[in-house]
């Protein structure tokens, strides 16, 4: 009875927590299961040294990504995306495009529904394509490893964000100028900024754009 009185978003939060924490246990169980199955333990020294290299950076980025992407993805989209991954290059553009076309705002219940549907569908399709690819890996490898296809896949992000930028810049021309100029200047003139550091620059871009938006909003320009 009580369950029926819960709002859609409240129910999504409950489902998201149950699924998220259950999958956390299951995913973490994988290395433990192999360890028990083969009766081996990890090589502690190399493992700890590799973890010291990888963990501080990725945990810090992971934490920042939560605060950056969760508000954009909505509750259902966030619970799904942080399990299935590939957020900036697939799930978020997919949800943004779907919400834009449906004419719904991310913060509305309709936006929550559309975002959840698009991310769930995208996750299912991705998983199925990878399963199909794994089954057909032998005949597919020479095709997918072909030079021409590699050249095309290497440019996935520019091809994706070129299209997406047209929609959002056209919608918010005044707000777009400052963040685009800042990011162009940073990426062109700071050599350390490249494909591997773009993830770190997303929160910087988001925070800067929010600041600019606040100033323009207070001045009545937007």
């Amino acid at each position: 009875m009580k369950k029926n009185n819960r709002s859609f978003v409240e129910q999504i939060h409950i489902d998201g927590r149950v699924w998220g924490l259950s999958l956390f246990v299951l995913i973490l169980a994988f290395p433990f299961a192999i360890s028990m199955l083969y009766g081996v333990v990890p090589k502690w020294e190399p493992m700890l040294r590799a973890m010291i290299t990888v963990l501080p950076m990725y945990w810090a980025v992971g934490l920042i990504e939560i605060f950056t992407y969760v508000p954009m993805l909505g509750a259902g989209g966030a619970y799904l995306s942080f399990v299935t991954g590939n957020i900036s290059n697939l799930k978020l553009p997919c949800a943004l495009d779907a919400m834009e076309r449906a004419g719904v705002k991310a913060s509305s219940e309709e936006g929550e529904i559309i975002s959840t549907i698009s991310i769930a569908v995208s996750s299912i399709v991705t998983t199925l394509i990878i399963i199909l690819g794994v089954v057909l890996i032998v005949p597919l490898t020479p095709i997918l490893a072909h030079e021409s296809l590699n050249a095309a896949f290497a440019q996935l992000l520019p091809a994706l964000f070129g299209g997406l930028a047209v929609v959002f810049v056209a919608k918010n021309p005044k707000l777009s100028i400052a963040p685009i100029i800042l990011m162009l200047a940073l990426f062109i003139f700071v050599p350390a900024l490249n494909a591997s550091t773009v993830g770190i620059m997303v929160p910087v871009g988001v925070l800067f754009t929010i600041l600019v938006a606040r100033i323009l909003y207070k001045k009545g320009i937007i």
């Binding site: 489902d15 924490l21 999958l23 299951l26 995913i27 994988f30 290395p31 192999i34 990890p42 090589k43 945990w59 992971g62 950056t68 508000p71 954009m72 966030a78 619970y79 799904l80 299935t84 991954g85 697939l90 076309r101 449906a102 309709e110 549907i117 996750s123 991705t126 998983t127 394509i129 990878i130 399963i131 490893a145 296809l149 050249a151 896949f153 996935l156 992000l157 520019p158 091809a159 994706l160 070129g162 299209g163 997406l164 930028a165 047209v166 919608k171 777009s176 963040p179 685009i180 990011m183 990426f187 062109i188 490249n194 773009v198 997303v202 988001v206 754009t209 929010i210 938006a213 909003y217």
Partner: protein, 244 residues
């Protein structure tokens, strides 16, 4: 039990986890569709959301599959299949796997030969990505609650804030497109490829928008993003031959 990176038991273990992840997506899809029906949302919009999400996902999903193939040389198929189907992205997984393999005295071109090395790599790759799995269930409600408070206080600012977040992300990726452009002054032209690909994709998107209005063909808008994505990627092939 004799170890092999492509041992059937590893496929079974990974298959179980991926089935559970697939189960979560199906459950959330069912939940959202049921609520859309209950709210009386336009069925045509829901149908278009589903079909355009499917079409849009195909190219990036194949790119992820290429990542599985790349990592499978050293790690076999099951571990990259798991890591790239669940949370991971190729850039992170490659760095994590390379770090672990380097510490073991191995490389991405060598196949792991024993279970202890495999478990070591699996632990490093898995622990690197768990932060989101632990914190998203704990923080999402609070973050969303904060946004709702902002919306209740000032609805217009809430909309501006939303757009600002999207634009902030897009501007970071637009900046990244230009990261190698200055190499032109050193006589290397490959830095121009992403810029030209991005421009091509943007032009195709704009043309789709104009055609949709002129011809009153709404379906063009529905598939504009996948069309611009595929056009950009297709143009990358001759551009790479020319400038790469």
């Amino acid at each position: 039990m004799e170890f092999h990176v492509n041992s059937p038991i590893l496929f079974v273990l990974v298959g179980i986890i991926i089935a559970a992840v697939l189960g979560q997506s199906i459950f959330f899809l069912w939940r959202a569709l049921s609520h859309a029906k209950k709210k009386g949302m336009d069925k045509a919009i829901i149908r278009k959301t589903i079909t355009s999400s499917i079409v849009f996902t195909i190219a990036p999903a194949i790119a992820i599959l290429v990542g599985v193939i790349t990592l499978s040389k050293s790690l076999g198929v099951p571990l990259p299949w798991l890591r790239l189907s669940v949370i991971g992205s190729l850039s992170y997984e490659t760095v994590a796997a390379e770090s672990a393999l380097r510490e073991l005295g191995l490389g991405l071109e060598q196949t792991i030969a024993n279970a202890a090395d495999y478990v070591t790599v699996a632990f490093v790759m898995t622990t690197g990505i768990v932060i989101g799995l632990v914190l998203v269930p704990l923080l999402t409600k609070r973050i969303q609650g904060g946004l709702l408070k902002i919306e209740a206080k000032d609805k217009k600012w809430s909309e501006v804030l939303n757009n600002a977040m999207f634009l902030g992300m897009i501007s970071a990726f637009l900046g990244y497109v230009f990261c190698d452009v200055t190499l032109v002054f050193e006589g290397t032209t490959y830095g121009l490829i992403p810029v030209l690909v991005m421009l091509c994709s943007a032009v195709v998107m704009a043309v789709c928008g104009l055609l949709s209005k002129k011809l009153h063909a709404r379906w063009i808008t529905d598939y504009a993003l996948p069309i611009s994505l595929i056009s950009g990627m297709a143009v990358a092939i001759p551009l790479t031959n020319w400038l790469g």
